[in-house]
Every structure is written in structure tokens, then in C-alpha cells.
């Protein structure tokens, strides 16, 4: 029997995605051990990578990085298919969807900072919707909206600013 070798051809894009995803997963894992004042309030630093990928490369790259990050992180933490995973996935997908449209905004006026804020609001919006519609249907989630909004604005701003600085450093912006 001849030995069959399966060769997978990797492109440059694949390498990019792999590198970025690795960093994103790493950031996610670090974040998971940090204490948070309230469940759902997270700095979301892995989103920096997603946003960076979007600007530096393209949307498709960002999409892959995001999906890989969510899946891999949850597998590593043993949360695969758990409610936490669902929340993470929903938030990320809605966040990406927002970015898909937001990136079309004129970049003379809109920097990663603004986009990051938009995407983090989309992120918490998606999560709150998931909680309300599926996880805990009767819950009055309104109480959480103010606090989550503050977190979204604050961390969205910080993450966006970091992304902006990174991109500037690479002369990509």
C-alpha cells in the first residue's frame, strides 16, 4: 500500500488568520481569569484583534478570526455549547454584522474608535436579546441596560483606541 500524504495547501491568508486567531484566543483566555464586577461586563480585549484584522486585511479575515476565537476559547474552557458560548457567539456575530456595515462609513470621519463603540453596543445588544428571548424569557432585562451600556461605551472606546494605535504603528491608517 502506498503511503498517501494529504497535503493541505496553505495560503498567506491562512497564516494571517491563524496568527491573529492565536493572539485573540490568548487574549480571551487571559480575560477569562480576570475578575469581573458583574456577569456580562467584560473588557472584550479579543475584539481588538477582530477589528485590527478588519482594517489591516479584510472582513473575511475578521470573520474567521472571530469565529475561531469563540469556538476555540469555549472548547479550551470547557464551555462549548454552554449558555456562555451562546452568548459569546451571538454577541460576536452581531458585532461583526455591525462592523460589516460600519466599515463602509467614510473613514475620514470614522476611525476604529467609533466602529469599536458601535460594535460593542451591538455585542451587548445581541447578548441581552438572547437572554430575554431564550435563556431567561421572563426576566426584566431593562435593569441591566444602563450598566451594560456604560461598559460598552467605555470598553468600546478603549479597545478602539488601542486598535487605532496599533494600526497607526503599522502605518495602516
Amino acid at each position: 500500500m502506498t503511503r498517501s500524504i494529504i497535503k493541505i495547501k496553505t495560503t498567506l491568508l491562512d497564516h494571517q488568520i491563524a496568527k491573529l486567531s492565536a493572539i485573540a484566543i490568548g487574549l480571551s483566555l487571559i480575560e477569562s481569569v480576570l475578575p469581573s464586577p458583574m456577569p456580562g461586563v467584560k473588557p472584550g480585549i479579543a475584539n481588538i484583534i477582530t477589528l485590527y484584522a478588519m482594517y489591516r486585511f479584510n472582513f473575511k479575515t475578521a470573520l474567521w478570526v472571530s469565529i475561531l476565537r469563540v469556538f476555540a476559547t469555549s472548547l479550551i474552557l470547557g464551555q462549548f455549547l454552554s449558555p456562555t458560548f451562546m452568548l459569546s457567539l451571538t454577541g460576536s456575530m452581531l458585532s461583526l454584522l455591525t462592523l460589516y456595515f460600519a466599515i463602509k462609513l467614510p473613514s475620514q470621519f470614522f476611525s476604529p474608535i467609533g466602529l469599536s463603540v458601535l460594535s460593542s453596543f451591538a455585542h451587548i445588544g445581541g447578548q441581552l436579546l438572547l437572554v430575554r428571548l431564550w435563556l431567561i424569557p421572563h426576566a426584566s432585562i431593562y435593569y441591566l441596560i444602563p450598566i451594560y451600556s456604560v461598559a460598552a461605551l467605555l470598553f468600546g472606546f478603549i479597545n478602539g483606541w488601542i486598535t487605532y494605535r496599533l494600526l497607526k504603528h503599522h502605518n495602516s491608517i
Binding site: V150, L153, L154, F157
Partner: protein, 349 residues
């Protein structure tokens, strides 16, 4: 950095904003011999307060005019009747009230009868506090056979007289409702669009509580909590006659203040009757009066009587049994699951 400072200032500001005034003006008073609760929504405190004072003033006036046993226009009238003398120059209000009450007495087949003051007095309910008595059947028989009725009154603008000297008028089942109608008039005059007035449990609604209707609770006749709640839309009134407010217990038997004019004895085994009255000029009055014939009348006659009196929505609570019309059932929401379970619920027509 500047942004963060700005951000925190905004947040701080909004915390201050949260301590805003609500636009519900509520006040409680002891007037008209009972607790009066007035809620006014959506007006400035000043306007609400002035309107409340006007209403309370009116209630005090009515209290002094129509009191059943303390010095009043009514007691003067009763004294004249007892002496077989005409009562000269009655107020227009008194004649109107008596004419109205007479119509209602007839319509209720004389179950609602404000002329049986002597009986009520005999049972001791013409006092602020009552002591138990041992009923003397023969004495009661005498009082009953005197058959006092408002039909025996001759009412004109210049005088009121009675063919029967034993007519003693007690407007206890009428005055509170009448006061509600008066209050509604006063508030309308003052352009108050949303208010809820509660006189000793009798309630009339004007407008709404903001963007939802006024909501009232119905008392559990054997408890201190509300047993059910319902919305009271604009102009609707609600009244309850119950055996749990004015009563005494003797030898284990409860004697309440609702007395059957034909037997002379207080009604037993009915805990409470609640009627819901649709908007009308005298909705308040009807909400007070119409619960009485249903409370006093025989169980088998209730449906026919309610029909005759045009009472579409009522609720009757007896021992282990709650009966109500379908329309009433649609409107109320029981607050206490326990009472729903232990009571046989019956919906009549």
C-alpha cells in the same frame, strides 16, 4: 481623558434627575364619618390641593346636612315627620335626593328602603360604636308592621310631609354615593381630568392614572387584604355592601347593619356584594344604593332583580362561594390564588 471626565459628569447629572416628583397627588382624610381617599393625577400640587380642599369642604357640608342621627337637616326632617308636622322649606338638594331615593326604593321592590330608620336605630346602628343587643322579636315585629316607606312622603318645593309618622329617613346607603357624584362635578368644574375618589370604600373614577386606567382592589370580607382587583375606567363607579364594616356578634351570630325591611332582621350568610356601575350622571349614587337590594334580597330572586335594576356587573361573596356575572368575571383578576381555590366560583348569566 477629557472625554472620561465629561462622561462622568453626564452620569452624575442623570442620577440627580432621577429624583423627580411624581405627578400623583394623594391625600387621606377623615370626613363624612369615614376615611376619604382622593388621588389626583397629572396636575400641579397647588391645583390638586385646591381641588381636594373643595371636595372635602363639600363632603363636610353633606355630612352636616344629611347625618342620620346627629343634628342635621335630615334629623330635623325626621323630627317633623315624627310629630306629624310638615317640614317647611326643604333645600332643593334634599328634595332632589328624596325624590331620587324614592324611585330607587320602588325599583328595588322596597328592599332598598331609607325610611326604616327606626329599625336601624333599634339594632343600635345609629351610634358611632355599637353594643350588642338581644333582639326582641315582638318589638321588631311592631317596627316592621309600621311599614315605613318613602312612598308615604309628599315632597314639594315648599314642604315635605309624611302620611306615616314612623318614617325615619336614613340615607346611609345613599349619601356616600351621592357625595361621589358631587365630587365628580366639582372636579370637572375645576378642570381636573384624572382623579380617583374613595369615600369609605365607595369609589368613582375620573380619567385615568396616567396612561393606564385607575385600578381598584376589592376587599376580602373575611380578611384584611384585597381579594381581587379590576380596572375602573373613566366615569365608572364601584360600591360594596358588606357585613364586615358595621356589625356586632352576639352568641356567635353576626348582626350587620343591613336590615331586611320585611323581616326586621339583619341579613345573614351574605358576606359582601359588589356592584360595578357604568358611567352615568348618578353613577356614584347607584354604586352605593344598588348593592343593597342584591345583598338583602333572596338568592333566587337576585338575577331578576339585577336585571330590573340594570345592574350588569356584580360580585357576591358568601361563605365558600363567590358568584358573579360573566362580565364581572372578565373584568376582575383575583389576587389571592388561595381564595379562588377554596371558594366555589359561580358565574351567573
Amino acid at each position: 481623558m477629557r472625554f472620561i471626565k465629561f462622561f462622568f459628569i453626564i452620569v452624575a447629572l442623570c442620577f440627580l434627575q432621577s429624583c423627580s416628583k411624581t405627578s400623583l397627588y394623594q391625600s387621606k382624610h377623615y370626613v363624612f364619618g369615614t376615611i376619604v381617599d382622593i388621588s389626583i393625577y397629572g396636575e400641579s400640587d397647588k391645583k390638586a390641593e385646591e381641588a381636594t380642599q373643595a371636595v372635602l369642604h363639600e363632603f363636610t357640608r353633606l355630612h352636616h346636612s344629611l347625618h342620620a342621627w346627629k343634628r342635621s337637616d335630615l334629623t330635623s326632617l325626621n323630627e317633623a315627620i315624627a310629630k306629624n308636622k310638615p317640614y317647611i322649606n326643604p333645600s332643593a338638594e334634599l328634595t332632589e335626593i328624596l325624590k331620587e331615593a324614592k324611585i330607587l326604593e320602588d325599583a328595588s321592590n322596597h328592599l332598598f328602603n331609607p325610611a326604616i330608620g327606626e329599625l336601624i336605630d333599634y339594632w343600635g346602628f345609629h351610634q358611632d360604636e355599637f353594643t350588642p343587643i338581644h333582639p326582641d322579636k315582638s318589638k321588631i315585629k311592631v317596627l316592621v308592621e309600621r311599614k315605613p316607606s318613602l312612598d308615604q312622603l309628599s315632597i314639594s318645593g315648599s314642604s315635605i310631609s309624611s302620611a306615616n309618622a314612623h318614617v325615619k329617613i336614613d340615607l346611609g346607603g345613599y349619601a356616600k354615593g351621592y357625595a361621589l357624584d358631587q365630587a365628580k362635578k366639582i372636579l370637572h368644574e375645576r378642570q381636573i381630568k384624572n382623579a380617583l375618589i374613595n369615600i369609605g370604600g365607595n369609589i368613582i373614577a375620573i380619567g385615568q392614572h396616567g396612561n393606564k386606567p385607575w385600578r381598584v382592589g376589592i376587599q376580602d370580607p373575611r380578611g384584611s387584604q384585597a381579594i381581587a382587583k379590576l380596572d375602573l375606567p373613566d366615569g365608572w363607579a364601584i360600591g360594596t355592601s358588606g357585613d364586615y364594616q358595621r356589625y356586632f356578634i352576639n352568641d356567635g351570630i353576626r348582626y350587620c347593619h343591613l336590615i331586611h325591611p320585611f323581616t326586621g332582621f339583619p341579613i345573614q350568610n351574605v358576606y359582601s356584594v359588589t356592584v360595578l356601575i357604568e358611567p352615568a350622571k348618578n353613577a356614584g349614587t347607584l354604586s352605593d344604593v344598588l348593592s343593597k337590594p342584591l345583598f338583602i334580597g333572596k338568592k333566587e330572586d337576585r338575577e331578576a332583580l339585577a336585571k330590573k335594576l340594570n345592574i350588569h356587573h356584580y360580585l357576591i361573596i358568601e361563605e365558600n362561594r363567590i358568584s358573579m356575572t360573566q362580565t364581572m368575571a372578565d373584568k376582575i383578576q383575583f389576587l389571592d390564588m388561595h381564595s379562588q381555590k377554596k371558594n366555589h366560583l359561580e358565574i351567573t348569566h
